[in-house]
Amino acid sequence: MRKLILLIAAGALAAVTSVAGAATLDDVRAKGHVQCGINTGLPGFAFKDEAGDWQGFDVDYCKALAAAVFGDAGAVKYTNLTGATRFEALKAGEIDVLSRNTTWTYSRDNDLKLTFVGVNYYDGQGFIVNKALGVESAHDLEGASVCIQTGTTTELNLADFFRANGMSYEPVPIENNEEARQNYLAGRCDVYTTDRSGLAATRAALDNPDDHVVLPEIISKEPLGPLVRHGDDEWGDIARWTLNALILAEEYGIDSGNVNDLAQGTNNPEINRMLGTEGEFGAMLRLDQDWVVNVINAVGNYAEIFDRNIGPDTPIGLSRGVNASYLDGGILYAPPFR
């Protein structure tokens, strides 16, 4: 009987703890921090620095969001998630936003009921192999063993690619990037496949990066970006415009070095609207008037985030490519702040 009561109590508890309500912004303010889902460790995107703090391209977005809401980039806590656990965590309300190399797809948007707030990195899936194998193209991979992270789009693209090309392969399913790296190095698989940005990051962390080559084929489109749950448009808009503000700041030449000066007022009305010296734009999102100033002070604009974490001067060494601003011939383009 006592067991029965315990059981009932446990069941009741499980059922009452329902998902976070509609007003995520109020919940976040009440908690005092943004709970941000990031990956378990990928150089350049989300990694621990010497001081033990999380840094990286995806982590900086979390900080920007915290700065937008609290004016403090430190008001953020992280939850490490694998490809397989991330969506459940978001849906169950464990995290407020997911910023983890996640591809925007139709079924994630409409079937899993998630809201992608934009794209912060246009990517595609590639392959990395050891040079010693002498492989020059993904079409030479007949019969190879391929390490692949489960619960990802890349797992599905891989199946499609080999099937479409009439080739066989042995998938070696793996939970996270670190495990993939170890299995790849040990030779359990010949090839590791994931987003090319992830490959560059993984390659940079190998002992002899030059022994490994990323094959030329790009087998999919992987627009990566942050996302929130369906059902709270206000929170979604805050997340979306935080990303837009980072991109717009680059377009208008606002960066962490000049933002405080520009915030004194300029003769460009668009900059003035963004930095809060004109209009009531902060209030429209229930944020501070100078929220964009806080964001840029905290992490810089998109270009600064890119260059600091994954750009040409970092070990990851990614060039902007299509991720350049549309002004520089890329496809990064944010709607006007008006």
């Binding site: 009987m1 029965l4 009932i8 069941g11 009741a12 499980a14 059922a15 009452v16 329902s18 998902v19 490809g83 397989a84 969506f87 459940e88 849906k91 079937d111 899993l112 009921k113 194998l133 991979l141 007949e142 019969g143 190879a144 063993s145 489960t150 619960g151 797992e155 599905l156 891989l158 199946a159 499609d160 080999f162 099937r163 392969y169 042995e170 998938p171 070696v172 399913p173 793996i174 939970e175 299995n183 040990a186 030779g187 359990r188 010949d190 749950r229 369906h230 059902g231």
Partner: protein, 398 residues
């Protein structure tokens, strides 16, 4: 007639009797508990459905008929990425059954051996067995699995430098490869000869028992049976013109092709689960044997029964009664622990429907309910079988 406390025989019924009468009181309590339980369950389900609706999450099992779109490396039946989620679940289920059944067999053999050897009079042997049991039992099973996976993947060489201890067997960090028999036209003769032999041996054993009961003469049934079981297929093989050929594994491109492949993921899981569970079984076996009073052995010896026979005919049958019930729970443990497969990427039931399908479709509740139901069914099947066996070997009182 039984008299219940509080009920005077012959007295008239009063409403308070429901509470004072022990039997009706317990009935009332049980009904109340049931109502509370059902109400709570109903509320939980209602709440969950409501929450999901609020989130706009679709529910239902329709996705099982859609293409799974992912590949599975180890499978006992045909499967491609165009097969359905239901078929992926079936592939996973069969992989679970494969590792559970082979694991139970190996763990039982090893466990009985270790358990008996631990009682050996040989100091070294018994200490070695103790060390094995203590080391194995006290390390979490997940670590065992990761350890063996690590050994295969990191210690064994790449397929190109595979070790070939005997001709046709290749050991590499992508798995162990051995020749696969291919059965040709007259190959049916071989299993047929085996069946005929088994039937013959059964009749022979019955005859031998009758002779023994009548005259006391003992035929060497065991050695004759073993010899016949080995000899019959060999003779049949040559008599029918060697109808079995071997498909040899060979290195082609990146990997070995052909033959039978034992992948590191399967090996690590199977071996780790087996040696882990065997340590517990060994202790169960030892306690079972120790539980049989020493007087039984002495009685058997004084009747002039040989030591080996004493073990087989006197001690083990009595010990089994103590051994079988806890053995059942070890079998169940092994089966359930096999869901740790995911840690090394063995595609069992949990890894397929409970992980990748769940993840790619977002149907968490549905996948979990399927997973729960199937594990429950597997466990109940094992329990039912073992309970039947337990009843069969129960002490028959005469």
């Amino acid at each position: 007639m039984t008299v219940h406390p509080g009920v005077e025989p012959g007295s008239t019924f009063r409403l308070s009797d429901i509470w004072t009468n022990e039997r009706s009181r317990s009935l009332v309590i049980q009904i109340a508990a049931l109502v509370v339980l059902l109400a709570t369950l109903g509320w939980i389900i209602n709440n969950t459905v409501q929450n999901l609706e609020n989130l706009g999450v679709e529910t239902g099992y329709g996705f099982l008929g859609h293409p799974a779109s992912y590949d599975i490396n180890q499978r006992l039946i045909d499967y491609t990425s165009r097969s359905t989620h239901a078929r992926a679940a079936l592939v996973g289920f069969l992989n679970t059954v494969l590792v559970a059944v082979t694991g139970i067999i190996f763990a039982t053999l090893l466990g009985f051996m270790v358990g008996i050897l631990r009682l050996s009079n040989n100091w070294l042997v018994s200490r070695l067995m103790t060390a094995y049991i203590e080391f194995t039992r006290n390390v979490p099973v997940l670590l065992h699995i990761l350890l063996w996976y690590g050994i295969v993947v990191h210690v064994l060489p790449h397929p190109r430098q595979a070790i070939e201890p005997v001709s046709g067997l290749f050991l590499s960090n992508r798995g162990f490869y051995l020749p696969r028999p291919i059965f040709e036209d007259f190959a049916w003769v071989i299993p047929a000869s085996l069946i005929v032999t088994l039937v013959g041996l059964f009749l022979f054993a019955r005859h031998a028992r009758r002779v023994q009961e009548r005259t006391g003469r003992i035929y060497p049934v065991l050695s004759i049976s073993l010899a016949a079981i080995v000899a019959a297929p060999v003779i049949a093989y040559f008599a029918s013109g060697s109808p079995v050929s071997l498909d040899w594994p060979a290195l082609k491109g990146f990997n070995y092709q052909g033959g039978i492949a034992l992948k590191p993921e399967f090996f690590a899981l199977w071996f780790a689960l087996s040696i882990y569970t065997a340590a517990f079984i060994a202790e169960i076996v030892r306690s079972g044997i120790v539980a049989v009073s020493h007087g039984q052995t002495e009685a058997a010896f004084s009747l002039g029964i040989k030591p080996g026979w004493t073990m087989r005919l006197v001690i083990i049958p009595q010990a089994l009664r103590v051994i079988v019930p806890p053995l059942i729970s070890q079998y169940l443990n092994l089966t359930k622990n096999s869901s740790l497969a995911i840690a090394v990427g063995y595609m069992d039931l949990t890894a397929t429907i409970g992980r990748i399908s769940l993840n790619q479709t977002g149907r968490a509740l549905e996948c979990m309910s399927i997973l729960l139901t199937i594990y429950l069914l597997i466990s109940l099947t094992i329990s039912a079988f073992m309970n039947w066996y337990n009843r069969r070997i129960r002490l028959v009182e005469r």
